[in-house]
Structures are given as structure tokens and as C-alpha cells.
């Protein structure tokens, strides 16, 4: 098992830093899946803790200048479990004047993802080495971290801008634990929360509904075009977790709603796709 990658462009480094920081805000542990074409951060929360699933995918070519991997079996992949905070903190050392960032899989006292950051100061280079301890996930457990299937959603809708959404959710989360999301195929979405003395609803209009490629569209239940709004009740905290400190600046946010079951959010930016799956509250 070998892994070696190199970043030379400051924008790419910052993108990786942003992804790392966003992941550390959302989850404590995650599995980093290194594949020949892409790098994915996966987190599957236990059902007892809420059951949120995160799948954050970056196309390898857009980020790395040099990328070499020798993984196991035909798929040529490596799965590493790590503490997201360690990874994010290591990448924080990427500052002004950074020349290159090298990431390697090393065997020290324990398997480590060694991040070597070379920074230029005046006419000399300074090297900072961070060892992020990792646990190599055995092949028999890989199936747990595969890409989630596109669920059979009832409604698919674009969500309002991140900033707007965050403002609304931040206020609502102080009122109640639950959030009811209602959406239809005509571009209307309602966020609703209530407690004993107040009910707050925020209505969004003309959001638009994404058109999915054939195979995904087939998944959509035929009936949903006929029936109007569908709703799902989720823990508001889980949605707030996605929004707080989110540094991936998405060009669009898609919400796929599975009536009474779950919501599946896609944050789509130029080179990063983040999928966030929140099961409905019991």
C-alpha cells in the first residue's frame, strides 16, 4: 500500500484546507477514501446518534499536481480512518509563502498520513511536518464506506442560498429540536418549526426543481408529480451542523426529499460535491 500526493498551487491547497475544516466542523471522525480518480471523505454516524451520512468527494486531478496510489485489489483504493480535527489542524499551517504540500502514507509508531509543508521565508525554506495518525480500514469493512445510492426521492428542489438558509436555521434552532421541511415540484419550500407557544414558518418561492439524468429520474416515484407538497421532519441540529462553519462555497444546493423518511442534501461547487443525508426524526 502506497500513497503519495503533491500540491503546488495555492488555490488547490486552500481548497483542501477548506474541505478539511468543513469536515472537522461536521464530524469528529471520518474515513478518507483514496481512489485513483478521486478523494472522498466519508462519515457514517450511528443510527443511535442520528444516523447522518456525509460523502464529500473531490476529483483528484483538480487538486493534486502529482498523485500516486497503490491500493488493494482491482479498485486500487485505500481507506483510512482519521480524526478530522487533526487533519484540519495540520492543514492550518498552510500560510502565506507556502511552496509545496506533500501528503504521504507512512508507517511510523502507527500508520500516519504525513503532511509536509514547505514554506519560503526570505531565501530559505522551512519545512513543517505533521503526522496525522490513521487507522487502515480492512478490506472487509470497505462496503460501509461506499457511495450511497441515489435514494428514491419524492421531491427534488433547489435550496435557497447558503447564507439565507443559515440565518433562518440559526434562529429556528433556538426554538425547537425539530424542523419540518415541506417541498413540492413547483419550486416551493417551507421550513417550519414549532414549540408550545409559537410556530415559525419560512416560505420560499420559485426555487426551481433540478432535472436529473434519466436513471435518477426514473427513481422518482411517478406519483410525486401528481401529488403536491411532501414533508419530512428532521432534527434541526443536524442541518445546523452542516451549515455552521461550512467553507465549501456551493454554487447550488439541492435537497432531495423522501417523504417522512429523510432528506438528502447536495452541495455542489466547482470541484467538490458534498452529500449530506439526514434521516427523519423518530
Amino acid at each position: 500500500m502506497r500513497f503519495k500526493a503533491k500540491l503546488l498551487d495555492i488555490n488547490c491547497m486552500q481548497q483542501l484546507t477548506r474541505v478539511g475544516a468543513s469536515m472537522s466542523r461536521m464530524t469528529k471522525n471520518c474515513v478518507l477514501c483514496l481512489a485513483p480518480k478521486k478523494v472522498v471523505f466519508v462519515s457514517n454516524e450511528r443510527i443511535s446518534e442520528g444516523g447522518t451520512r456525509i460523502w464529500c468527494e473531490i476529483q483528484q486531478e483538480t487538486l493534486f499536481d502529482d498523485y500516486r496510489i497503490e491500493g488493494k485489489d482491482n479498485s486500487n483504493r485505500i481507506f483510512l480512518e482519521l480524526i478530522t480535527d487533526n487533519f484540519a489542524r495540520a492543514l492550518k499551517s498552510i500560510q502565506f509563502g507556502v511552496v509545496s504540500v506533500k501528503i504521504r502514507l507512512t508507517k511510523k509508531y502507527t500508520p500516519c498520513l504525513t503532511i509536509e509543508i514547505v514554506t519560503a521565508y526570505g531565501n530559505s525554506n522551512r519545512i513543517i511536518t505533521h503526522d496525522v495518525p490513521v487507522v487502515i480500514v480492512p478490506q472487509r469493512d470497505w462496503y460501509e464506506y461506499e457511495e450511497p445510492d441515489m435514494p428514491q426521492f419524492d421531491v427534488s428542489i433547489y435550496m435557497p442560498q447558503m447564507k439565507v438558509l443559515k440565518q433562518v436555521i440559526d434562529r429556528m434552532k433556538n426554538l425547537s429540536e425539530h424542523l419540518v421541511i415541506t417541498a413540492d415540484q413547483k419550486g416551493n419550500m417551507t421550513l417550519k418549526t414549532q414549540n408550545d407557544i409559537v410556530t415559525v414558518e419560512t416560505h420560499f418561492k420559485d426555487l426551481g426543481n433540478p432535472v436529473w439524468a434519466n436513471d435518477a429520474a426514473n427513481n422518482r416515484k411517478e406519483a410525486s408529480t401528481q401529488i403536491g407538497a411532501m414533508e419530512a421532519c428532521i432534527y434541526i441540529k443536524k442541518l445546523a451542523q452542516l451549515l455552521q462553519g461550512q467553507q465549501i462555497n456551493p454554487s447550488k444546493i439541492i435537497c432531495n426529499l423522501l417523504a417522512e423518511k429523510a432528506i438528502h442534501i447536495y452541495l455542489v461547487s466547482e470541484d467538490v460535491i458534498l452529500q449530506y443525508y439526514i434521516p427523519a426524526a423518530m
Binding site: 487533526n86 492550518k92 500516519c112 530559505s124 522551512r126
Partner: protein, 374 residues
Amino acid sequence: MSNTMAFSAIAVIPGKSVKVFGKAIQCLSKVGDELYVQINENGIDLRTVNSSRSAYSRMEFKSRFFSTFRVRESDSGGSDSILKCKINMKPCLNIFRSSSTDKNVNSCSITLDGNENRLKFLLECRFGIRKAFDLLLQDCESLEAMFTKDDCPNAIVSLPKIFSNTICNFHASQEEITLVATKENIIIKNYVEDQAELIKMLYTEMNLATHEFLSYDVKTEGDITFCLKEFRAIVSFGEYTGQPISMHFESAGKPIMFHIAKENTFTADFVLASLVDTDTPSQRSNAFHQNTTNLDDSHCHIIEDSILEKSNLEDDSATQDKRSSAHLAQITQKSNEEEGRRYFSNGYRFRGRRVIDFLSWIFCGSQYLHDRRG
């Protein structure tokens, strides 16, 4: 209150220097909870030591730092021509916390009157606003640490910027860092106490080339582990003053010293105890041997030197406290052999080894120092 009655001093800090003084207090507050103030004709001397006595700091503000500096010695011409007192760090810190943020302070005068038992701070601000602070002097003692940085084989002088760029790579919760000095370079890494933690912790290592430093003189190669918290305070003070920091050290277990100075204005010295790795048996026995000899020839006692004789019981209890802490430390030394470290009932965790190593360097009472120098 005999000869100290008539002792008085007044020092005025010009507006532009108030912030430096404030930063100095802030830096000292990161080290200890009590501020020992000594005033003599040369200037004001501020010292502090932390509760586990593993870090000591001394800042001397020369009379030229002040726009006005007057000391009136006691009429009786007593043996002491210096004034010593102790104040609580927190209120003192609060005085400068507010003033250091605004630029409206025209001057700050510090008055000490032996008759009143109070240290007075008066901040003259813009628009004629005056802020007066009276701090009660606590029981008085003299605090002195024995250290000679000139004997250290390793001396490194650096701009504070290099250190601040280095330590910003470590997490705030990181307690100690290890510095490995070789003739070619310096490696700074985080110290991991428990090997089991290594599989969870981020391990960081940095390499600094010798030519980055203003002066680099390493005669004995080795590594030394010390507290990051105090080092952060030192570096941030250094950064504010813009003066280079010189670092003097020998080997693990021996203190590491830092020195910042601005000619004719102020000097700051810091002594931090370093950690002896108790896990390696060879090192351990060596260090222990060294400790015992140190303790033997130096009678490691904390002697309270009451100048302002306050005949209250607090004084006595404080004295006893200190003695017992020295005693405790000696006990620790013994048990230390088996345990390596100890947790004290007051909840403050400190490593016995570290305390012992440092205790042998700290002496109270100038008499002893005098003998040594003499």
C-alpha cells in the same frame, strides 16, 4: 514598620511606553499569580514565579524608562536601600488591560508610599480623565532565582517572528514542546507525554536552519522539553517590543533561559524548568544524582524576608505554606523515583521532577545570592 515607614517612590511612565509596561504585566501574568515589586534607585523590578515554581520571570525597568523617577530612601538609612512588596497579579493586570487598548493614556504614574502600604497607579488620560488604582501590598518577601545564562553551552538569538511562526503551528492545548538542537539545525516538535496518545494525536515537527537565527551557538547537542504556555507569553512580549530573544540552555532537566532587553530601558529574563524524561532509566538516574547534590549544597529552602513587618497571622501561614511546598517537593523527589510524577491534592498537576530541578535554582533571600557572588 520601622525603617520602611519613610520609604517612598514615584515613577511616571510616558504615554507611549504605557503599553510596553502593560504588555510586560500581561506577560508576567501568564507566568505567575503574584507580582513581586522591588524599587531601588536604578528602577523598578518586577518578578513572578508560578505556583509549582517551575517558571520564573524577572523584568527590570531602568530609571530611563520613566519620564520621572524618584526614590526617597528611609531616613534611618537602614540596611535595605530597596523597597520590596508583593501585589496580586489580577487587579494589576486589569489596570493595563483597559489602558493598553486605547491610545488615550498620556501618562501613568506609580507611587509607593511606605506609610500607606499601598501601591498607587494613576492613569492620566485624554480629556482630563484620571483613573486611579490603589493596590494593597501583601506580605512582603524577596524572590530571587539563581541562574547564570553565561555558563550555558547553547545560546541562540532570534527575532521573535521566527518563534511566533513556529509556535502558531501547535495547538492551543499543547502543553510542552521539545527543542532538539544540533549543530546544523533546530527541530521543534510537540512533546507527547503518553505514548498511547500518539495514535490519536497530531504530531508536528518543524525544522529551522541555523542561518535563520541572528546568532547560533550550540556546543552540546541535545533535546530539551519545556512549557509552551510561558514560551508563548515570552514570544508575544518579544514581538511587541521588537527586540530579539536570546535563548540559553544546556540539556534536559536543566532550566532553559530567555532574555529580552532594550538597551538602557528594560531587561526581561525568564527561566523555565525543563522536563526530564523519566522513562529512560539512564537519564533518570543521572538526573536524580544531580538533583541530590544540588539540594545538598544549596539548602533548598524558601526563606521569607519580611521587610514590611505586618504582624498578622497571614504572614506566618504564608511562610509556612511556602516551606511546606518546598518540603512537599522534597517528598516528591523521593516518591518520584518510583512514580515519575505526582498529582497533588490541590488539583494542580505538576511533575515532581520538574519542580525539584527548578527548586534548586530558586532561592529567596538576597543574602545567599550575595554570598555566592561574593
